[in-house]
Symmetry: C2
Subunit: 232 residues, 2 copies
DNA sequence: CCCAAACGAGAGCACTGATCTCGCACGCTC
DNA sequence: GAGCGTGCGAGATCAGTGCTCTCGTTTGGG
């Protein structure tokens, strides 16, 4: 993180890398990751395809860079939405903001959503660099819960966690330095996967035959999750 | 549906089309849809790549055939699991069976799951022929609810559906000849999208950092959805 | 029996990702 | 300020892809 880039060459290099990503993102938005062609990007930039390899060692590396950017884009949008809602005082409003930010971004950037939440398909292990950007959304959700002022242990008794699950979640809490108890983490995972389940189904056409404009159903689901999360 | 195929040529044609799909499915399971190559399939079958086009007009048509098969495979497995559970007497057991059938199939055939529930990416409209196979899982869920003997209108009052959503769901009920009221349909959609949200996240590596072996969390989520569905 | 329809092989087109070599120019070192 | 090594872009090349077209051959119904 040196403040000033040293040479003009370095500046040019960083700038060109950025332009490559921009052009690639345009092609991605236009036709999807499947059709993203290094040569087409190079053509648009007026350079030889081989020159691109000076900046990204392979097509997959370029895609990984776009994945990181996408995670950060949705993460940033979610964080802003949550902050704008005064989460400590109005956790339910913050939760609504989070959900609408996710769905809004997804609908505006369907191909980028598909890139990060679609099918990376097995054998693919997320590169180290994607982990932190990826975690921004779930962490934002956990912050809402932590700041909600509710008793996060939740109603004990009936809905107590099964022992093995509680133990597993406790290791997750410890490993990530989270400050919510396992029952709240379980509810958060439930809400998180549920919301992305709806958004994914909507975007990928699985709701075409049923709640096609999913706006109303999404709002309904968001409120049900808010109830389960115990948000006021 | 003529009982006996007419000529030997027709028999050979049907058989070869089946062999092509089988080989393609093997390649799909091995490396994913992205890498599925018509020429590789043709090589494995010892025929010229151009000959494949006598059976499938394009690569996408071959993939569509595999999609239909995959929908039917998971649908059949779910239906068997539900039937085996005596859904009318034990709706909750049937619901568990449905969920475990979905997740089990998904984990055994990750690439096929990705093919149908992954990112078809926008602009793709499901061919007519995929609609019926696609609907088998959600319809199985609705049958569980219908036969559960519960008051499907649900607790009126607090959790009454917002008017617009109720109206939208009523049109869905009418259009598909469903025999469950809108509130039950809303809960079914909630559970359906929620379960697939977890399975998708698990398969696509989004849970890697948290509940990595998702078995316990999945069971937990299935029970919570059963509660919300009002299953005994 | 015979002709048209179905069929498979092969060549070819326009692409793709990736690699390699080759000059050129930039920028650091002396 | 001169010179050299490194970074860089262009072009050729390779293997592989989906898809089309043509051309003999096989086959089965009229």
């Amino acid at each position: 993180m040196t403040g000033a880039t040293r040479t003009a060459r370095d500046r040019a290099r960083a700038e060109l890398a950025h332009e490559i990503k921009s052009a690639a993102r345009r092609h991605l938005a236009a036709q999807g990751a499947q059709q993203l062609s290094l040569r087409a990007v190079a053509r648009e930039l007026g350079m030889a395809s081989s020159a691109l390899y000076r900046y990204f060692p392979s097509r997959d590396d370029l895609l990984t860079a776009l994945i990181v950017d996408a995670y950060n884009a949705v993460g940033e949008r979610v964080e802003h939405a949550v902050e704008a809602a005064a989460p400590a005082e109005h956790p339910r409003v913050a939760w609504r903001g989070l959900c609408q930010a996710v769905r809004g971004w997804a609908r505006e950037h369907p191909h980028e959503y598909a890139l990060i939440y679609g099918s990376p398909v097995p054998g693919y292990q997320a590169p180290e660099q994607t982990l932190a950007p990826f975690a921004r959304v779930p962490f934002a959700l956990l912050r809402i819960l932590r700041d909600s002022g509710r008793d996060l242990a939740g109603p004990s008794g009936a809905s107590a966690l099964p022992g093995p699950l509680a133990a597993q979640l406790q290791t997750v809490v410890d490993a990530n330095g989270l400050d919510v108890p396992p029952p709240a983490l379980a509810r958060a995972l439930f809400a998180w996967t549920g919301v992305f389940g709806i958004v994914g189904f909507e975007l990928f056409g699985q709701l075409a035959g049923s709640v096609d404009p999913a706006d109303r159903f999404f709002e309904y689901a968001v409120e049900r999750h808010a109830d389960l999360l115990g948000l006021d």
